[in-house]
Symmetry: C2
Subunit: 190 residues, 2 copies
Amino acid sequence: MRRPRGRPAQGTGVTRDAILTTALTLLDESESGGKGLSMRALANRLGVTPMSLYHHVEDYAGLLRALSDTVYADVLKDIEAGLACHEEVREILIRYHAAVRRHPQLTLAIFATPAAFAGVTREITDRLTGLLQTMTTEPLLWRDILIDHAHGSGLPVARDDDAPAAPPPDDHDYRRALDCLLSALGPRRQ
Amino acid sequence: MRRPRGRPAQGTGVTRDAILTTALTLLDESESGGKGLSMRALANRLGVTPMSLYHHVEDYAGLLRALSDTVYADVLKDIEAGLACHEEVREILIRYHAAVRRHPQLTLAIFATPAAFAGVTREITDRLTGLLQTMTTEPLLWRDILIDHAHGSGLPVARDDDAPAAPPPDDHDYRRALDCLLSALGPRRQ
DNA sequence: ACCTGAACACCGTTCAAGT
DNA sequence: ACCTGAACACCGTTCAAGT
């Protein structure tokens, strides 16, 4: 009952930007499969009531959609003009993988919240599909293979025989695997 | 206050088997990214107090581990003897993908609960690694690619341009993609 | 327009108490 | 050994009430 009931005098409220920034921080701080972010914990961190968040985002799924739109915003942006299809696919996937790897808990949260899938991610898959159509007779097959691999390779699933919390492969390892896949997709006998 | 306080007279309690079976049912019924299963909902469905479950499973992560052990139990079982490496890898992955596809919500729940990863799944990855060592100079790379693809292809992520809840590709589609990958891994120029 | 408290229907898990 | 109710510290979201 510290704070008054109605609207505060000055701009003591939250911004949409502040919400998104703090939400991403909460997500990045946790290691619990996307469970680190909750509306209540987020409001708490912002020094605000949970309900005030609903004036800036639609709901929890909407919050995740907004987050993914900002995190993946640069994937398709300013791609060098006149690139060969092969190189453009490579560039997009390297950027996408880097974004997944930077915020793996966001990707896991989206996995757990089907309604959060939309926006930029759809544009990325569409762009990849278009490019792959000129490169292989099975564009949808390879688009799925490449995206699945970018996800799996960017997410912290314990899979190696070493430490249970082994970090995902770094960018260099991803590039190596990606080139492996792209050269398989490209010209090959049979 | 209907039921008496102490231990019931007869075997009105729950079995570990009943717990696992009902848990899998709850998971399969839901479409919410592995959120359909909770200790409380499970106890409710079994007509029992939430706390009674803790006498049969360690906790929520332990429940998921037990579930994955039963769901993936048959993946390595009774593999035909004298199979070529190539064929054995193919058989294991087809079975693994089928299990993921049968209970996608379990896989999503495990993704969201890192502590749930263990047991049979580790045996499967180890077996695959061993086989791939005789097939390629990059066994770990290809093991990850193949498992990531089995996951992605078995999970209901909205990714296609069609219906948002489009079903994952069926077994035939997976086999086609898998053969695509395996022939890329196999002998190829350069 | 924006924030509030109270409420509803949920969570996982601990703990002492029963038989 | 196994189940219980009560409790603690959480969830997302609705709703009427404030300014």
